[in-house]
Structure formats: structure tokens, C-alpha cells
Point group: C2
Chain length 401, copies 2
């Protein structure tokens, strides 16, 4: 009899987001003329920049002729892209990586969800709360629901994950954090690197939003911290840095010093393990997409994408300043495209979702969707249109919720 | 301490293919003027067809403007592609599927490797030998190395997987088979469907090469067999049917009747499980790629790709007829792009690889690379250039190996 993986039965349903979609649909049908503004979705809205479009057309043309056609590429990605990433993201910050320490993929969601496969079923896992739900769900699916140590975020700790009392083996850090917009500074990150070195733990550093960091003193890569090469895997994505949410490209860095351990305490290179995982279960990222990502890393493409990021961060300023001026307490939005809004005390984030929709026709995301510590908060995103964002803030301020 | 997944240590190294690459590189450097012909690689060589190129350029242009830009798409794929697949592959063969039973992905390798995640760790798994190594390796990685029942293929059973004495829960069928080119006919497939229905087993039907079936009496989809919707998952790919090996698109069909069972024997819909897996661990296939796949399914694109398949099958005929005329025994190559060559008795397939390279400067794949039952056989592929394929056969025949 084909038995199922019963760990799936332990997942909480994605009820909240389904509920949100149903609510918006219901509101829309009962108010067909309502002018709804969506500041809930974590998706970009600006188109691909001209340099990327040009590179994609050129790559498509290459695929049209036998002389330049590309079939299967390396599962790890093409060297031209690995080099472009080094030139764009790492060399300017004096981070030294080998090109083959960078594994190109079709998305960070896949990589952060799949990385747990190379670790034992009994590792103890630290996960921030609130945070992107994929870390937790992918580990529940793999049977680790009883191995999770949550790191509670609150206004008191600036929503930054603190080192727990209990010993942990794998630590997911998301910085800039989704949904709170908090960023680990050099000192905080150094403490985590030291913890991992002392405990032979591994840090899984998700920096999908690092391009939004404006404060030059904040690290954009964990490898800016001395000793991190021995203990950290880094995930980066083109989704938010180059409007690639529908194009699909990301990368994962595994330094060759990084080790895991077998039951007898013998070290094994995690680079070898991930390489085996990717060559067995993945067949490389689309050639055309890799050429597009290369163009996003270099020259004009980089400059054009920086302008898009600046545009979104202009929206973040409008939301943040608007709400603060109206007397609300908000976090994030300075070095991240997310504004984490503290709801007037006692308000349940799911009920506030309804209130905001009904009163202002503005859609956001209830904080509880990112973990129980998110209750009492609300996420607004900076990925919208400038005028619509202004209008949303105007409505919120006028409503005096 | 970050413990590794020790199941990885049970994987046999990919020594054979690494060894092959080293041998070819060594031969090339010691014989810089040698005119090597590669009939080893399972990769296409013809470019994308004009209708697909046109669709990709159009999709790239859509991504250049805010009005038509697409961000995150549905993790399951766009309905326009699901509908095109139904129109291209299923409706003409009277197979009824709902659009949302089709999950679009970036490759069949990922899907056939990931599908085991939704099943319990203790399921008993039947895998043909010889066959595509991903079925075995992905299950070893998941800790199932002791749960495998091999289905030995031989000339005596036409390299078709036979129902084993031992009861099995999951059955990987690859038809047309890689590497033998054998195809399960309606009667054989019906026996497997009946077996699965009687034993509440699930068939994982990989038909990545179904577009190469020329015999109209052979099924191209397992759903052509009555009752298959209750017991089978089907994997199909654009890699070989539309030259997409470097573009990356495939799909997996999970009918809504298909059930797995929990420990208490309660049924659960596998469609729900896979949907949860994909929405949690995957973020959809590139929009541009999905538009390209749509064009490959319909009208001109379909006709142009059929011409490419016919071209490759012309190569298959040349290899097959040439070797047969020279007195060799060969299998496959009639409804598949692979020719499975029985080596003169006693020859070890790895040693024959060296002989063929040195004597004829032709590269193929040793049968043992696909499982121990592949020993004594050699795989040649039809994906090369017509004139080069002719030349390779000429050299082999002249060498009289």
C-alpha cells in the first residue's frame, strides 16, 4: 500500500492567505466600484530593465541557431553568471569566493526549502518568529516538527533573532527580515558566527532583500563577517533586486571550508553534499534566464535596477513617514521594502485586515501569517506604484484607525 | 553539531560519467587532431523552432512594460499552458484531464526526484534495471536504500519491467525507456495498472520520450489505460519533444482520484499533497519559458517540432539499420531516440567505451552506467547531426569490432 508522508498532516493549512484572497474577492464582488490598493503582496510591479530585456532577446536568438544553441548546462549554473555575481555582489565588498562555490538555481524558495535535505533528520533548528514561513514548513514536511526552537522577535529586541538557551544545530537567519524589515548589524551577525563556530552549527543566511540595504555600515553578505566561511550558507535572489519574480533566478553560496558531521563526528564538506543534491535532483536554470541575470549584475543593468530599488524605497519612505506622522509606531522600511506596523494595542491582525479593507480599501498582510509573534502587527510593502502608495497612506491617515 | 544526512554516503559516486569525461579529455589532448563524434550524450542539438523563438521574444517584450509585466505566477503553472498541453497531448488521444491536474515545472528530473517526498519513508519501491539513475539515487538520499526491488531487464523480456514476486508500493516505469528504448504496450501497461489497483500501489510513469513513439498502437500516456487515473502519476517533459533541455520546462499529472494511505489505511488525495509540496518548495516556472512551451504545444510549433523529432528518428534508423546490417544485435531506436547495442559477448561495457573511442573516435555510453543489468550493452543516441551520425556508423562498421 502506498503510504503517504504523514508529516504533511502536521502542517498548518495555508488558511490565512486563502482566507485573505477570499475576503478580497468577496469585497470586490460586493463593492464592484471600490478602488482597492494592494500593499499586501510581496511581489514587484516594475518591469524588467532595458539591459536585461536586451540580454534576453539576444539569448533567445542564440537558441534559434544550431551554431549557438545551448542544451543542458551545468546543474550548478554557467560560469559567466557565477563570475558576474562575484563582480557585482562580492568583489566590491572584498568578499572572496570561488566561482564554483556559487550554485545558480531557479529560486531562493526552492533552495531554502531544499537545503534541509542534506542534514540529518534529528538536527535541532532555530527559526525566527515572525519570518518567511518556508523555513518552518519545509522542516515540518521532513519530519522535524519537534526539532524547532523559535526565536521570538519583539519590539524589545528590535525583531532581531537572539541566541537561544537551548543548543541548536541549524540557524535560519533572514536579514533584511521578511516581514519585519529588521537587519542584523555587524555585531549581531558576529555573535551568531561565533556561536556557530563554537557549537559546530550551520547558519542558513537568507539575504534575498540585501539590495535594499541603504545603511553602508550594515553587512550585505554574511561573508563580510570574519570566520563565516566555516559556518554559513548564503541564499540570494534576483527576484527583488532585478524584478525577477516571474523570471526565476537565485543562487546559493556554499564555501568549501563549510563542514557537517556524521554520527562519529567525522567532518564532511557540505559543498560536496549540495553538489550531489543539485546534480541528482535539478537540471540547471534556463540559459536565457542566466543571461538575463548576468545583465542584471553588470554595468548598465546594475545601474538601472538600482533606480528601481530606489523607486521602491521611495515608497517605503512615504509609508513609513506617513504612518509615523499620524502617530503610529512602525518598524522596518529603512533598509528593507517592508514596513512592519504596530497595530493600536489590542487589535487582532486578522480583524484589522478586514477593517483596513472595508474602511480604506487597502490590502495588507496580517502579521500572524508569519508566526505567532507577528500577532498585533501588520505588513505593508513598498512594491506598489508611487501614486497608489501615496493614496493608500492618505486614506489610512484620514481614517484614523 | 550540524549532522549530515548520512544516506548520501550510501550513494555510489558518479564515477562512471566522471571517468568517461576524463577519458574523452585525455584522448582529445593526446590526439589533438582526432575527429571525435559524440553519440553518448542524451542532449538535443537542433535549435528551438521558429514558432517557439517568436513566442519567447513576444513574452520578453511583455516583461519590458509595466502594463504587461508578470511577477510571481501560480506555483502550479499558468492555465494557458495547462490548456495548451491538454489540447496538444491529451484531448487528441481522448484522455480527459482537468487543467489543474497538470503541475508545470522546470524539469522532469526535479519532479521524478521530488515525488518520493510525499510518500512514507518505508514504502517498497520497484525500479527497472537498467534505467535513468535519478529514481534510485533520489530514494537512496531519502533513506530508502533498503526498500528497493529491482526489476531486471534483459533480452529475454525485451527489457520490459515485469511484475515482481515481492509486493511493492511505488513503481517507477520509464516508457519509452532510457537507455534501452523499449516501450510498454497496452497489454503490459494494463497489467501494471491492474497490479497497482489490486495492491493500492502507485505507478510513477515517466514518459519523457513519448513524442518519439511512431507505432500508433502504443500508448503515449498511461491514462490511455482504463483505471489508470486511480493509480498513476505521469511525468512529461519539453526537453526532448521541443529541444528544451536548456530552456527548462516539464509537467507532472496527478489525477484527483489518486490516493495514498496513512498508517490507519485512511485515504488521502495525492493531488493535495503534491500541491502542498509545490506551493511550499517551488515558486513556479519562468513566464517566458511557459509561453515558449505553449507555442510548442500548438499549431505551427507542434508541426515544426515534429519535423525535428523525425530528423532525430532518421538518425536512429541509420544507427539501427547500419549496426544490424553489420551483424550486430540492437534494441530500441524504433519508438525512442536511444539504440541499445548488445556488445559481442564477453565484452565489458566500460572497456568497450575505450575501444570505441580509440578505434573509431566515437563516444557512447557504457550500459553499466544505468544499472548492473546494463552490463554487456552500450547506448548510442540519435540526437546528433545527420552526417556525423552516418560517419560514426560507417566507422563502426568498418572497424568490425
Amino acid at each position: 500500500m502506498a503510504h503517504i508522508n504523514e508529516s504533511y498532516l502536521e502542517l498548518s493549512g495555508s488558511y490565512l492567505f486563502a482566507h485573505i484572497n477570499r475576503r478580497v474577492a468577496a469585497f470586490r464582488s460586493s463593492h464592484p466600484d471600490a478602488d482597492i490598493i494592494r500593499l499586501g503582496i510581496g511581489d514587484v510591479t516594475r518591469p524588467l530593465v532595458p539591459a536585461v530585456i536586451r540580454a534576453m532577446h539576444a539569448a533567445v536568438d542564440e537558441m534559434a541557431s544550431a551554431a549557438t544553441f545551448r542544451g543542458y548546462g551545468p546543474e550548478q549554473g554557467y560560469e559567466f553568471l557565477q563570475e558576474a555575481i562575484l563582480d557585482g555582489d562580492y568583489r566590491p565588498r572584498n568578499v572572496k569566493l570561488d566561482a564554483d562555490e556559487i550554485f545558480i538555481s531557479d529560486g531562493s524558495k526552492c533552495d531554502v526549502a531544499n537545503i534541509q535535505e542534506i542534514f540529518s533528520a534529528d538536527v535541532k533548528i532555530a527559526i525566527a518568529d515572525p519570518v518567511y514561513p518556508v523555513y518552518l514548513d519545509s522542516n515540518i514536511m521532513a519530519g522535524r516538527s519537534r526539532n524547532i526552537v523559535f526565536l521570538p522577535g519583539s519590539a524589545g529586541n528590535d525583531f532581531l533573532p537572539q541566541i537561544p538557551d537551548e543548543k541548536v544545530d541549524l540557524i535560519y537567519l533572514c536579514s533584511p527580515n521578511n516581514p519585519t524589515g529588521s537587519v542584523l548589524d555587524r555585531a549581531a551577525l558576529t555573535r551568531w558566527v561565533e556561536y556557530a563556530r563554537e557549537n559546530r552549527a550551520v547558519i542558513l543566511f537568507d539575504s534575498a532583500y540585501s539590495a535594499y540595504i541603504r545603511d553602508e555600515t550594515l553587512p550585505r553578505s554574511i561573508y563580510e563577517i570574519p570566520g563565516a566561511r566555516d559556518v554559513a550558507i548564503e541564499f540570494k535572489s534576483f527576484s527583488k533586486s532585478a524584478s525577477f519574480t516571474g523570471v526565476r533566478c537565485a543562487y546559493t553560496v556554499i564555501p568549501k571550508e563549510l563542514k557537517g558531521f556524521d554520527r562519529n563526528g567525522n567532518p564532511h564538506l557540505l559543498h560536496t553534499f549540495w553538489n550531489r543534491r543539485q546534480t541528482t535532483k535539478f537540471n540547471g536554470t534556463s540559459y536565457i534566464v542566466q543571461r538575463a541575470a548576468e545583465a542584471a549584475c553588470r554595468g548598465e543593468g546594475r545601474i538601472q535596477n538600482q533606480a528601481v530599488i530606489d523607486y521602491y524605497m521611495g515608497n517605503a519612505d512615504i509609508i513609513r513617514n506617513g504612518l509615523e506622522k499620524a502617530g503610529y509606531t512602525v518598524y522596518g522600511g529603512k533598509n528593507a521594502p517592508y514596513i512592519w506596523w504596530k497595530l493600536p494595542s489590542g487589535l487582532d491582525s486578522m480583524k484589522f485586515f478586514d477593517t483596513l479593507l472595508e474602511t480604506c480599501q487597502v490590502v495588507g498582510t496580517p502579521g500572524v501569517g508569519f508566526g505567532s509573534c507577528g500577532e498585533g502587527y501588520f505588513r505593508l510593502t513598498a512594491f506598489g506604484d508611487r501614486e497608489r502608495t501615496r493614496e493608500a497612506v492618505k486614506r489610512i491617515v484620514a481614517a484614523g484607525l
